[in-house]
C-alpha cells in the first residue's frame, strides 16, 4: 500500500518497557502494519528517521546523545508523543537528580560494593551525562502524552487508532494511570 503512515520510535533514558508494552497489542500489530510502516525504531534497526508522521519517545533525557536523538525526532516527525512516566516526568532515572553527578559516578564505578578495577568510563564514544535527568517536554515541543509505567497496550492501540482514523486522540478514565 502506498502512503502508509510512517512511525518512528525510540527509547532514551528508558528501560524499553514501554516498547514491550506496545508489542503487547499482539495480533493487532498485523492490523497496524496494514496502514503503518516503521521508520527508525528498535523494531527495524533503521538508524535515522526521515519524514515521519508519528514519533513515539520512551524515556527522559539523561545524556547528550538523548538530546540529539530527541531533536532529530522533533525535526522529522509531524506528531511527537511522550510515552510513559520517564518521558513525562523523568521517572526512575530522575531519582539521581538529588545526588551530584560526581557522587553517582563515584558510587557506581569507584566506591561501590563489588566494583572491580575501579575507573570512571571516559571513552570518547560515550555520550556525556547531563547533570540532571529531564522530561522530554523541557527540551522539545511535545504534542501528546501517554502516561503509565508502562502505558498499557490498550493505551497505544486507542491512541494510534484515534490518530489513524482522523480523530483527536483521547484517553478515557480507565486507560489513564501514572503507575
Amino acid at each position: 500500500m502506498a502512503n502508509k503512515i510512517r512511525v518512528a520510535t525510540t527509547s532514551l533514558a528508558g528501560c524499553f518497557g514501554c516498547h514491550m508494552s506496545f508489542l503487547d497489542i499482539d495480533e493487532r500489530m498485523l492490523q497496524l502494519v496494514e496502514v503503518v510502516e516503521f521508520d527508525r525504531s528498535p523494531l527495524t534497526d533503521i538508524e535515522h528517521c526521515t519524514n515521519c508522521d508519528i514519533g513515539l519517545i520512551e524515556g527522559g533525557v539523561c545524556n547528550s546523545e538523548n538530546v540529539h536523538v530527541l531533536r532529530e525526532f522533533r525535526n522529522n516527525c509531524k506528531i511527537l508523543v511522550a510515552v510513559g512516566a520517564c518521558a513525562i516526568n523523568g521517572g526512575l532515572p530522575a531519582l539521581r537528580n538529588h545526588i551530584p553527578l560526581e557522587e553517582c559516578l563515584n558510587e557506581a564505578y569507584l566506591d561501590g560494593i563489588g566494583v572491580e578495577n575501579p575507573q570512571i568510563p571516559s571513552d570518547i564514544e560515550l555520550p556525556l551525562l547531563l547533570n540532571q535527568v529531564h522530561p522530554i517536554h523541557e527540551v522539545v515541543k511535545i504534542d501528546y502524552f501517554l502516561p503509565g509505567c508502562p502505558p498499557s497496550a490498550d493505551v497505544f492501540w486507542k491512541f494510534l487508532t484515534d490518530l489513524i482514523e482522523g480523530r483527536e486522540p483521547s484517553l478515557p478514565y480507565e486507560l489513564v494511570h501514572y503507575d
Binding site: A85, N89, A94, H98, P135, H137, F145, Y178, D179
Partner: protein, 256 residues
C-alpha cells in the same frame, strides 16, 4: 421556605452555617478537593475546589453558602484551572507514582485521573526534601507533601496531640514534627492515630503495609474519586465502599 443555592444550574438546599462544599457534598455533587475533609476545620489551601460564585472565584470549602448564590463548578475554564493546579502540585514535589507505595490509593493521583491530566506541562522542580524514617511504624517522605495540613489538623482535632506543623515559607516550606530532636520517633505519634492515615498523598506512610493490597486492585484503580469521596461522606449511602477502601480507612491495629 428553605434556602437554596444553584450549582451549575441545579438547585441545592443548604442549612445556615454550611459552606458551598458542605451543601454540594450533601446533595451528591463532587467538587474536586485535596486539603478538605468534612470532619476538620476547612483550610482552603489546595485551591482545587475553586468555583465561580456570582462571577468571582472562591474556595468552595471555605466560602459560606448564602441564599440565591449562583455557583459554577464544572465549567471548561474551572476544570482547566484545576488541571493546572494539579500539575503545579506534581512538579513542585517529587511525585513519581511508579515507585510510591501509595499509588492507586493516592488522592492527588486520583484527582489527576479525574481531571484527565496526562502530563505535567510545567518544568519539573525536583526539590531536595528529607525523609524521616526514624519512627518504628510511620515513615514521612517530604517529597510528596502538598502542605494540605490535614495531618496537622487531625493530630490537633482528633488525636489531641499536636504532632505536626508547617514551618517556613515559599520554597522552604516544610512539615515539622513536635519534638526537641525534630525527629518523628520522639513525637507522640502512633500508627493508630488518625493523623498517620489522613495524608491524601504518599507523604505519610505506615511501614510494612504498603503492598498489602496489590497495585491494580487499589481504590482508584477501579473507582473515580468523585464516587469514593461522595460515598465516604455518606451522601450516597447506597454506594458500597470497595473493599480496598475499607482497608485504607481502617486504623491499622499494630503489633505484627
Amino acid at each position: 421556605m428553605s434556602k437554596t443555592i444553584t450549582i451549575d444550574g441545579k438547585i441545592i438546599p443548604f442549612e445556615e452555617g454550611q459552606t458551598i462544599m458542605d451543601a454540594a457534598m450533601a446533595a451528591g455533587i463532587y467538587i474536586p478537593h485535596l486539603c478538605h475533609q468534612p470532619e476538620f476545620t476547612p483550610h482552603g489551601s489546595c485551591k482545587l475546589c475553586t468555583v465561580k460564585v456570582n462571577g468571582r472565584n472562591c474556595s468552595a470549602c471555605t466560602f459560606p453558602a448564602m441564599d440565591g448564590q449562583d455557583v459554577l463548578s464544572e465549567t471548561e475554564e474551572l476544570i482547566d484551572d484545576r488541571r493546572k493546579i494539579t500539575q503545579m502540585l506534581f512538579v513542585e514535589g517529587n511525585h513519581l507514582c511508579p515507585g510510591c507505595e501509595k499509588t492507586g490509593n493516592c488522592q492527588l493521583q486520583a484527582v489527576g485521573y479525574h481531571l484527565n491530566m496526562l502530563d505535567n506541562h510545567f518544568p519539573l522542580f525536583y526539590p531536595d526534601r528529607e525523609i524521616d524514617a526514624s519512627h518504628p511504624d510511620v515513615m514521612i517522605d517530604q517529597s510528596r507533601c502538598i502542605f494540605c495540613t490535614l495531618c496537622v489538623r487531625a493530630s490537633q482535632q482528633k488525636d489531641g496531640k499536636n504532632v505536626f506543623a508547617i514551618s517556613g515559607r515559599g520554597i522552604n516550606k516544610h512539615l515539622i514534627f513536635n519534638a526537641e530532636s525534630g525527629l518523628l520517633k520522639d513525637t507522640a505519634l502512633e500508627a493508630t492515630d488518625q493523623a498517620a492515615h489522613i495524608c491524601p498523598t504518599g507523604a505519610i506512610l505506615i511501614k510494612r503495609t504498603g503492598y498489602q493490597v496489590p497495585i491494580g486492585e487499589r481504590i482508584y484503580d477501579h473507582k473515580q474519586i468523585d464516587q469514593v469521596s461522595l460515598a465516604s461522606s455518606g451522601s450516597r449511602p447506597d454506594e458500597a465502599l470497595p473493599p480496598s477502601l475499607a482497608v485504607e480507612t481502617e486504623h491499622v491495629k499494630h503489633g505484627e
